[in-house]
Symmetry: none
Subunit: 541 residues, 2 copies
């Protein structure tokens, strides 16, 4: 592929992505993410803004080794009244070990007049001086043209003169920013086309925000109009509605549009991993509907449809899921037919002869369970257990003999309202001389937490694999809502182990506590089954 076919990727997860509400990177996070981005094959890794906050100072003071990527510092043009070489902000950038420096400057006349309050020509000088200084100090200069599209709409000549000043002063890349995120794709295409008449596309970049849900499309439109650098973030992190999502852009640019984005086939296969890694680091629930990398991105529902997909995946899937490290996912639902169940079984690694009589029984069992209110979409671990139990593969690790949960709310002697939950469980576990009945009692924040605590007290001495297992999500839904609190309750639980593996289980009962117990019980059993726990009577308490 020739030079003009090469699109460079610039990641700003660690700087613009850090503006996301609720996101707070530690230095360790920044190091790990920068290394993942480098391994993926991203061209520019923007580490942050040295001089702006203690985290970025610490990160830039001792940055990770990035064998491939250009480590980049972000900052702003020199301020009025300082020469570029004496500007404290620019100095912080140039004293950092960054190989490239990206500075943001104004290009909207209104902001020059009101926010900077300097003559418009002086703004051009600020931009040109700053770029020249970066170049003189041996770093690669980039210019982020803030509010460029709004500026262009207000005063095209002035906006163009700003980006031309940066280009003529030696900016390697002039990046057109849709800072407020309100520009639509056809506008981006038209405006970039005009800019590309003055500055070659091989020196133009694009930076978009998702305020109209068009950040990805705006970036693609800019590339089609000539730009050859794209700024974005992993999972579309960023303030308000986020920045352009690199994980959606990469496969569209390379697989679909034929651009060389500098990422190898192996790198492409890591996209799902990188997406999940970031969510794990930030303790965010992964978006299962994310393009390309979401857990549901290649999910198929429905019996007839599933057999067609299996016969000819290419005619039902827009790309091969394995290209981005994803996989086909066959959902079990009340439309489940035999082919659906078989496909789903293969997916969870259960091998059964399609002619096996037990497949028919399993289809009936799934339908019966769904009629009772179970939902196996999104509770794959319960589905796998159901199947493996039907095939006789799951040992009885423990048996609940009884539980009792007491919840109380009252005014105490000091006149304060207090609540209390206490659970008692009696569990049968393997012991040295046959089954042992273990009784435990525990308090909790609420009834399910108390029950969880009491069960763990009983089981962890026998099954140490359960240590570190934690509940990460808990949802309750009432079915047959006509009957209100008398109706059937469905509880979905998501659990994680200490390695970050997650699994989801479901429980159904008229009683929310009982339904929670059922989901909890499946979750524990699944953890034990997956860890290969043996029923070892010698460990019994």
């Amino acid at each position: 592929m020739n030079e003009t076919n090469r699109v460079y990727l610039y990641d700003t997860t660690l700087r613009d992505g850090a503006q996301t509400s609720g996101v707070d990177f530690t230095v360790a996070d920044k190091i790990a993410i920068a290394q993942e981005l480098d391994a993926l094959g991203i061209d520019y890794v923007e580490g942050g803004w040295p001089g702006a906050n203690p985290t970025d100072n610490a990160f830039f003071a001792d940055p990770p080794k990035l064998p491939r990527a250009i480590f980049t510092a972000f900052g702003m043009t020199r301020r009025p009244g300082h020469s570029a070489s004496n500007d404290p902000g620019l100095s912080a950038l140039l004293n950092s070990p960054a190989k490239a420096v990206c500075i943001v400057g104004k290009t909207w006349d209104f902001h020059v007049d009101v926010a900077l309050a300097i003559p418009r020509d002086e703004n051009l000088t600020l931009i040109a001086d700053s770029i020249r200084e970066i170049k003189a100090r041996g770093r690669e200069p980039l210019f982020d043209a803030e509010h460029f599209f709004d500026g262009y709409k207000a005063n095209p000549d002035y906006a163009l003169s700003c980006v031309q000043a940066a280009y003529e002063a030696g900016a390697r890349w002039v990046v057109l920013c849709d800072t407020n995120g309100g520009t639509l794709p056809h506008e981006v295409e038209a405006i970039v086309t005009e800019v590309a008449k003055r500055i070659p596309g091989s020196h133009l970049g694009i930076h978009t925000h998702n305020d109209t849900e068009n950040a990805v499309s705006n970036s693609l439109a800019a590339v089609r109009a000539g730009v050859r650098l794209v700024q974005g973030t992993l999972n579309g992190l960023g303030e308000r509605c986020g920045n352009a999502n690199l994980l959606s852009l990469i496969p569209s640019l390379s697989v679909k549009m034929g651009f060389d984005v500098g990422i190898s086939k192996e790198g492409m296969g890591r996209l799902v991993h990188i997406s999940r890694m970031l969510d794990e680091r930030l303790n965010r629930t992964p978006n299962r509907h994310a393009a390309y990398v979401g857990e549901s991105a290649f999910a198929h529902k429905g019996g007839l449809h599933v057999s067609a997909v299996e016969k000819d995946p290419a005619s039902y899937e827009h790309v091969d899921p394995s290209l981005v490290g994803n996989r086909r996912h066959v959902l079990v639902s009340d439309q489940a037919g035999r082919s659906n169940i078989l496909a789903r079984l293969r997916e969870v690694g259960v091998n059964v002869d399609p002619k096996d009589d037990r497949v028919g029984q399993l289809v009936d069992l799934v339908k019966q369970k769904e009629y009772e209110g179970f939902a196996f979409d999104g509770a794959e671990a319960s589905f796998e257990l159901l199947a493996r139990r039907a095939l006789g593969e799951v040992p009885d690790y423990f048996r609940l003999a009884a539980f009792r949960v007491l919840d109380e709310r009252r005014w105490n002697a000091k006149g304060e309202l207090v609540t209390m939950s206490e659970a008692t469980t009696k569990v049968e576990v393997p012991g040295p001389n046959g089954p042992d009945n273990v009784m435990t009692v525990a308090e909790g924040n609420g009834p399910v937490n108390a029950l969880d605590q009491a069960l763990r007290k009983a089981l962890i001495p026998v099954y140490p694999a359960l240590e570190g297992m934690r509940l990460v999500d808990y949802k309750v839904r009432i079915l047959n809502a006509q009957d209100g609190t008398k109706a059937v309750t469905r509880v979905m639980i998501e659990t994680a182990d200490r390695h970050g593996h997650r699994w989801a289980t479901v429980g159904v009962s008229a009683n929310v506590i009982d339904a929670s117990f059922n989901a909890l019980s499946d979750s524990i059993t699944y953890c034990l089954y997956r860890s290969g726990a043996a029923i070892d009577s010698t460990k019994a308490a």
Copy 2:
């Protein structure tokens, strides 16, 4: 605005949106959502597929009154071997009360050859016959051209002949579907431009999926190329990565592109509400980063930027947030909060002088409650009570002194697994000689039902208005999911009285039973307040 400037909106939340993994609409959900869509001003509300499953059969058997929208049934073309008038699938559609019928048919030669396995000409006949039958039976016919873009890429002549067959047979709208979701915006624009040379744009529609994160952009590209009907879903629900998100499309089409989408200014102002209402119904966490309607969509971080935003919002916000019912979120105290609260108060019929000091206190109270985890979108009765209590308008009908709930699960003497819930409450109610403490005990199907029963036993003798009140929905969500069962629990309850009036309340606590009690207590209080119950000590037990 003239006819060609009118873009029609077609909502498929209740059909294609129901394919979302984890989404499972009840009939009550479908009724409520259809009514919200109608009130918003959506042109076509697709209710589902009559004949395909029991929920859709029940919904179509007794559909809600929609004064404005065209209630639409979805199905498929007649099957080979049946005449259109004898086809069981088509009959189910035409025996439904739908005013319009949208049928899906094949347009990709490969699928005709392999999935249908009929001669390609016969497929054209299936399409034309089905459309003619719908028209002959006095319904408005629409044609969803499945896999149209992939089909066009493989065999443009055949794909075009399919949609022309539908159009010539009398389809009001021919909807071009990107079924696999892999088509990029520039391809959509090019292909739609070709189609529009054969079929007028005033009869063309678009249906896109978000597999490359371009569903919204693909829809906009199609409109720019001439189509005048857009199919999509609320919040972009839909299988895999979702369908085109109508809540992003509506403001871009109308506010930014100047199309008339048939939605009034008041309707536009309900977009945020509708987004949250759907999430609450489905027990999904709202996406705070959603374009236009997300909680963070107009969030500004503190400092200098905020005062600049306050001075000149238009230069920092791509649209006015109030246009879509959203508001600016800033860290400093903001006018937006105050006017928002005032608007919401007016909405629930609470009239208060904007200059009243208590409005400021109420703003602080709402913020405090929301910080604690309350969500008043979808729990309007609790919001109204909060406001009216702050204004001193709500009597203390009763006061809970204490409750205790016991849940038990054990094997009985016959070897059967039995569960039991028993609740004891101590409630202070007005009595003939001052407050009376009434102790009651009741059993229930589950802990919340037991508590509900015990409370009623105590209160109905004093407040007969509570007779006939019943719980119709009950939902639980965990906040701060990182902590699993130890986290804060939010319970939303929907209640109806014997006249069919419904109201929703919310309760928050670390303990699910306690949170349920809080929501239940609000629900009872709201019922009494609405019924105008007096605190009448002579009726006390």
